[in-house]
């Protein structure tokens, strides 16, 4: 089903079209939402809300626009909604590094990994996500759009209504801060 057909079917409230919509876009949107919220449950809630909103507002969708761009915009806006932000900020403050929904070791781990290497990988991931968590939200949003969505400086600037120089600078700070945390972690782990 091409995009034009999909939009047409959605306008008619077609269930199959809705299934196609969810299956086509959920993976990317969940990644974006998780990148900003760093909370799996909240990202799922947000993306579900986005799909519901799209289904209800599909009549206002302009045919010449790209569906994924519209969905991405809604997802980011939902993530940056102040109520959600406030709650998240509070939760994070309370959030110890290990949570009950800690995904632990990912599917990409090779079966050949020893427990030691697996633990090292996990520590690296935890460290990286901790560092990302400490980024200011504005900086993290730019980082998400760049790293996960592969948007260019211009596209990010346009999307967030900021200057291109601001994009470059936020991206640099994100990288620097994350790399810094990882470096200090690596140094701490070195035997004395």
């Amino acid at each position: 089903m091409d995009e034009q057909n999909l939009v047409e079917q959605l306008r008619q409230g077609d269930k199959k079209a809705f299934t196609v919509l969810v299956n086509t876009f959920q993976k990317r949107l969940l990644k974006v939402a998780y990148g900003i919220t760093l909370d799996p449950e909240e990202s799922r809630e947000i993306v579900q809300d986005v799909f519901i909103a799209v289904f209800r507002q599909i009549h206002s969708f302009r045919q010449e626009a790209i569906l994924h761009t519209w969905l991405r915009k809604m997802t980011v806006n939902h993530c940056l909604n102040w109520k959600r932000r406030w709650k998240r900020r509070f939760r994070w403050h309370h959030d110890p590094i290990t949570m009950e929904n800690d995904p632990g070791l990912s599917q990409e781990d090779s079966p050949m990994d020893t427990p030691e290497t697996l633990m090292q990988k996990k520590q690296f991931r935890d460290g990286l996500m901790d560092a990302v968590r400490q980024l200011p939200e504005k900086t993290r949003t730019v980082f998400v759009l760049y790293a996960l969505e592969g948007l260019s400086y211009e596209e990010i600037a346009d999307f967030l209504q900021i200057r291109r120089g601001t994009v470059a600078s936020r991206l640099y700070h994100a990288r620097k801060q994350v790399a810094q945390v990882l470096n200090s972690k690596k140094n701490q782990e070195k035997p004395v």
Binding site: K87, P103, L128, F143, A147, R175
Partner: protein, 155 residues
């Protein structure tokens, strides 16, 4: 973390890996990386950060079931009120019960106005002042019960 190479700043290396420099600048840095291990390591680290974040943002096992979501959209329309709702005020008691309900509502409304507004929507506690040497203080309420929570960090 600082770049020990004095020729290019970290910011320039960051822009380089994004391809966000002019063509001659990109070429100059590319050539420089062949001979400068500090800049090369930095560029590699910046790339690693982005790539790892991209991998980690994909949460295993997180998926949305489209059928279930579709059903949740349809549900409110199909089931607007319980089947008993329409039957309650039927028969000869209808005017009596309706009048009683109006009277009860007026009484309850009056009492609420005399006291402090609608009880269920207001926070359990109104915080009028906070004084602390700690900067991290937050006030919030639970979503359903409006239970007020003041939280401060003493670390």
């Amino acid at each position: 973390m600082t770049n020990s190479c004095g020729r290019y700043s970290e910011k320039q290396i960051s822009r380089y890996i994004d391809g966000a420099l002019s063509r001659p600048e990109l070429e100059q840095i590319r050539q420089h990386l062949d001979s400068c291990s500090a800049c090369r390591d930095l560029a590699a680290q910046f790339r690693e950060v982005t790539q790892t974040f991209d991998e980690l943002a994909e949460q295993p096992g997180m998926a949305i079931d489209p059928d279930r979501l579709y059903r949740s959209i349809q549900q409110p329309a199909e089931n607007p009120a319980g089947p008993e709702a329409g039957r309650f005020f039927r028969g000869r008691f209808r005017p009596l019960l309706a009048a009683a309900s109006v009277a009860a509502l007026l009484i309850i409304g009056g009492i609420l106005l005399m006291t402090n507004g609608i009880a269920t929507d207001s926070p359990s506690a109104i915080v009028t002042s906070i004084d602390t040497e700690y900067t991290a203080v937050m006030i919030l309420e639970t979503p359903d019960t409006h239970h007020t929570i003041i939280w401060y960090s003493d670390t």
